[in-house]
Symmetry: D2
Subunit: 260 residues, 4 copies
């Protein structure tokens, strides 16, 4: 069985006067944080605080770039964006976070596209290429987080990037190894213990099991857990506890900067 | 007489579907461009294009950070911002531009605060310190552009930054060497030839002459010209021509990256 | 031949410090102005000025609601918006314009959806229903501007709204009477005289002629002309002149408020 | 002793994906809700839901217009806004809310400026005049909520508006009857029971007692309570309970629309 794995969560999603999620609790659970960069959530103050607290706890940080859509929280699928423009939007966001991370003595070590951009880049070769290209332009050492079997994974490999394969603790998979749409019943797991057992099994088997029972072998570098509500935090904690009991060590897929 | 000087202008102020200024014309006139970074104007596409075209012409680029105020174009004085927050806002903006500049093979070599932030940082020690600190955090080699005698000049010096002293081609000065408020008649010069003669005289005398006739000795590293309307472009061109006729060479105050 | 027709244009698309189009010129050409309401362009100052100037010239005004997408100017197709939410977005925008119009003594008399929302509501029954419902909620006397044969026309009729049928001076039609996509060559006419002749012919024949030569009978209440660049203004002027020479009177499809 | 009074709170301050406050709880406590209109918080969906739920509970609604400053939540003092522009910004916001309220069968019956605009309009005659003028333009029957002794109260009276005088349950007053700045210790009361007793005393005495013990006679039409965190909700509830025990009936200062 795999003896180490990364646990990642989308954090830093507050904005201005509005708070989202319990980042303090989550930073004690995860080993990597994907930080909003201002296009769907996050602002310079939130990003700064998130970087500083992640550093204190030895949590690795990544950029979580999005379509420019604050009101829609980056969840609205936007059509017709040219890949060459998405490159520019992503470089802007990654660069802003890199500067803030550097200012607090931390370092951005990965990139994971958010929301609708992430979903679309998993299937659309042009958008996948754009996200991978932006990542490469911001640093050849940056790791691209992608779902096994996705267009984004392929794009990252073509660009010569290190790719971290991600599975979801609380989402059902179909027989192709893709996520079952949230519109379908059973697409999202709500029981922390069930999610925790499932994650341990994934690591034991080196595979995800689809809703129909099919085992799909995958490499698992990181497990995504959510933290935007108290139940999500409880599930994240259950997953971490179950992994540690099973003898799996939680640590970033990228070695943190030596000075950290 | 001083034989070289920089000519700078605030460019890259288009946004989304809206165009502002004739950047193409201005990039043929100036040696340095201060580029909006998305908070008052500019977006990733505009920034990318501006960086690429500046590079083609050997024009140095700087970040032009602003208060977060798109509708107000960064011109509205906003009170009560904590200097520590302004540091974060500026690091975000400078970092985003640095990443885009790097992506097109150019490099950000200076920082000049925009609009209300610039005006307030010329007088308010806390804001001046914040802008200088953000500049230093983004790169110790970054040059801070400041008005001679301003709080920003002093803050830059305290931080150990190289400071470029800026005069304005089209603005009247008072006896303290500060700009006469635009609200007063005669605060802004409109005649290109007059502005051009005045700039040549400033360099000959190493001084600005106040509205009342007083000569205030200043170091002049860069001259600011505007380019947001056809008349402004004509004035910028007149200033450049007059300087060249007087034997002054126009070039960036920072040597461009060797690879450029 | 039809002896009166309305000429409409999308105006009031400036925002903050940015200007778009030559609204002054266009308000002397058209009889109806579709005014941006702040979601893709326009702001309270722009809206106020547009309403006041339209009133001075006896130009009728309509709301031009959009997806919430300032950066994308409302041109980005956004998927997944629930029709019930689009109702709310449109009521907000129409209501804001109604209040500003009333404040300057004018009155909003029509609604025409903008950009991607307009394109999608021409085909998607849910979005069409949402735009029509929002229009009805803001005033049963409001006229809905729609393309003949579109889902929006049908939705307006179902709601009991008066519907004004619109044709485009500068766009090619396909054999179903729908617009040829801008991606295809010949989709947009650029010659003012040709567009002007074509518009006169449409009114003479009570039909649009498709790119392949097919005549599609349509009722024509209003003709859309653009005004966002000098060439567009010239075409609008040519269209108006040609119509007047042909004896067609240009006037709003809604009688202006009696006090105007 | 006064036998009826209104209890108001600033609600509808969620935005997009972000929630703020416990509006459900507060709508069971207050008799009037001041609803954000999109400039500092609120969006069409939030506004719609707030109007609908207020109507269900017989809670009166008012517009809560703000400076255009989403990131700063309307709390940043912005200088240099021309009063004539503030009129336009406020008419836009009030009109948008009026349309949404009408769509759900409710009606906007008051206006209260938010945050920095509210603070500044309490002292600045130009801004006060602008807010009052915008209110009048949106409906002569609209009630303007103002602090007794403020510039806004005077402006409302000059415009012929009905003015509702407001006191704060949890804020200390100085000897002029103005609020003690939040920067000073003791400016904000945190004990629900103390705030509740104080409010009852205000109504008994028809006066507020300043921090130094001075009694300042005031007319009290409405009492402001906050609801943006659990402690605030508890205080609001304590105030309501104490008033009811003292025999004071809580009801809107404006009779709700007859159809409600």
């Amino acid at each position: 069985m795999q003896t180490t794995v990364d646990l990642n969560s989308d954090l830093g999603e507050s904005f201005g006067a509005w708070n989202m999620g319990d980042d303090e609790a989550m930073l004690d659970i995860v080993s990597s944080a994907n930080l909003a960069c201002g296009f769907h959530a996050g602002d310079p103050l939130v990003m700064w605080r998130s970087c500083a607290r992640a550093k204190e706890r030895g949590v690795a940080i990544g950029a979580h770039p999005s379509f420019l859509d604050l009101w829609g929280f980056g969840r609205r699928p936007i059509l017709g964006e040219r890949p060459e423009d998405i490159v520019k939007h992503c470089v802007y966001q990654i660069g802003a976070l890199q500067a803030i991370a550097a200012a607090v003595g931390h370092r951005v070590t990965h990139v994971k596209p958010h929301g609708a951009l992430g979903n679309m880049a998993a299937e659309d070769e042009g958008l996948a290429e754009a996200v991978a290209e932006a990542t490469r332009l911001c640093g050849r050492e940056l790791v691209l987080v992608a779902m096994p079997g996705s267009a984004l994974e392929r794009a990252g490999e073509r660009k010569g990037l290190e790719v971290a394969r991600e599975v979801f603790a609380d989402r059902a998979y179909d027989d192709r190894g893709m996520l079952v749409s949230r519109k379908h019943p059973g697409a999202v797991l709500h029981d922390p213990e069930e999610a925790a057992r499932r994650v341990v099994r994934m690591l034991e088997e080196g595979a995800v099991t689809s809703a129909s029972g099919k085992k799909i072998p995958v490499r698992i570098d990181t497990i995504c857990v959510h933290g935007d509500n108290p139940k999500a935090v409880a599930m994240a904690r259950a997953v971490r506890t179950a992994l540690e009991r099973a003898g799996v060590r939680i640590r970033p897929f990228v070695a943190p900067p030596s000075s950290a």
